[in-house]
Amino acid sequence: MSTFLGMPTDRPFPANAAKAVRNAQLRVNLRKATGTIRARRATAVAELPDWQDLRSAGKAIKDHTLRHLDDYLIQLEEAVTARGGHVHWARDAAEANRIVAGLVKATGETEVVKVKSMVTQEISLNEALEREGIAAYETDLAELIVQLGDDWPSHILVPAIHRNRAEIREIFLRAMPDAPADLGDQPRELAEAARRHLRERFLRAKVGVSGANFMVAETGTLVVLESEGNGRMCLTLPETLISVVGIEKVVPTWRDLEVFMQLLPRSSTAERMNPYTSMWSGAVEGQDFHLVLLDNGRTSVLADQVGRQALRCIRCSACLNVCPVYERAGGHAYGSVYPGPIGAILTPQLRGMDTPLDRSLPYASTLCGACYEVCPVAIDIPSVLVDLRAKARHSRMERLGMAAAGWIFNRPSRLARAQRTASRLRRFVPRRLPGPGAAWTDTRDVPPIPPESFRDWWTRTHGGAR
């Protein structure tokens, strides 16, 4: 079974992107939002004289952890258990969903409140809980917009980035029963409507579900960064807290947080610090605490020499915000909860490259390298893309063409003969190729073939000496 990443589309990226770029509203929304955040991130990062040192440390901490991931997970499990928490392990999405559903049922509740978490989207936890008769309520403003609009997230930090304020107002008026009839489209009013809508739900919530940004092996500490306070509500008010976290989120020591608590806020929301961060170790303040550690394809990524660096990702979304392809195509085109440059390398690795969509993702890039430059843990996304392109299965025509080219380039005599033939036939080569070759010339001209090859010219003139 291939790994499920929670979004239904099987059309390849170019088809999705072609559709998205025709949506003028989407392009305006994305350009405005990514432009704002790009400039702010640059300022926030420039303020720290030691940014590159933090980046090197962040990268090395993650690589070191991945090398000893088994040891650190065991240490984490011991620390969480010693402090009264319960640790569960899940090989894939189905197993994680089963565990969470079982834990919720054991409490006798039929409702859970959720903090924004990529990993629970990855495993489609909400849908799985719904099938078990459990309602999961998203509480992050953007997630709420997506959930109420019956939509898909399009960004890992601000999942409703494809919506502007006027569209959000409409969604609220349509789907939020207690939205005031005279609701305006000022962000302040929209935030206020969400506050009132969710307050009652927070106050009566008995079960909270979260992810985590970091887990500390040494102390069993989980860390959740957020802005709105909905995270704190879900983490502290319910009697039972269930956190589902990917195994790659562990860091070895408490001290390591001094690096990531600087790298993450400045890279993601471009602030010196995000408004709220919660850190807790095991079961605290009388809560029942469960940690579900999820693999779901991560160990296959870890096995890939080039691709494993994708597991360093701290989901800051800086690479999305600088990507010229993301800015135009938007998040939905990537057909996964992980869009943008990180999605282009993570999705095909987690899910495998069996579908046309997953094979097309490594090409969803111009290889400009902006993503690598901003990545706080220095993931060399362009190199992974190139490596994945080589690994993807290519079409029969392409393989035949490459084999023919290989045969010609292999011997200088064959190349010389081929060049002379091409020169003789140059008048007959069209600017647009027919048949499958058209895919290539749709966007480019065939280069003009010279009347004489360089080699022939050199032989004839001795480099122009004759």
């Binding site: 070191h64 980035i161 307050r199 802005s227 306070g229 602030e271 408004p275």
Partner: protein
Amino acid sequence: MSAREAILARIRAAAAGAPDPEIPRAYRTEGSADDLVERFTERVRDYKATVHVTADAGTVIAEALARRGGRRFVVPGGWTAVPDAAGMAAMSAMADMEALTDDPPLSARDLDAADGVITGCAVAIAETGTIVLDAGPGQGRRALTLVPDYHLCVVRAGQIVSSVPEAIARLDPARPLTWISGSSATSDIEFDRVEGVHGPRTLEVVVILQ
């Protein structure tokens, strides 16, 4: 094989040849010790929170609460240890108010009905304008500073460190920690920061000079 054993076995097979770099810690582990109070207050103000710097906490707190209005404020256990004698003055200034002490614990609904909460903190960070609460004396459990719409936080000047690494070194991970940088906010609509969503919409910080 249990899921645990299966995952660990897969990790061992997958990570066998992976690189294991030394961790270079060339970054700053200590920031400048100058102007801590000035830098801290400036950065808290950047988050649009109100900041007072004073040697007379009692008066400033009493005035702040009067300005805020309402009379039912949550006051966590151990509060008097926070601003020392000034705290006592504040308490007497609040004489006509009702101090909700969380003993026995207040329900979430009680907290929602309160007019605000006053607490101390464990550490504050100048570079980022951050206050960290560790549920210690005068801070209480985490919900106390979350549900009420108004949070007044008292920071003693000596609690301010320069940088994030210094704060991490001072904090005890065994305690539940809440890092607070400004009031609740969101960037979810067009990446614009808007203050005031689910947490306290007003944060007021009083720095006590000693």
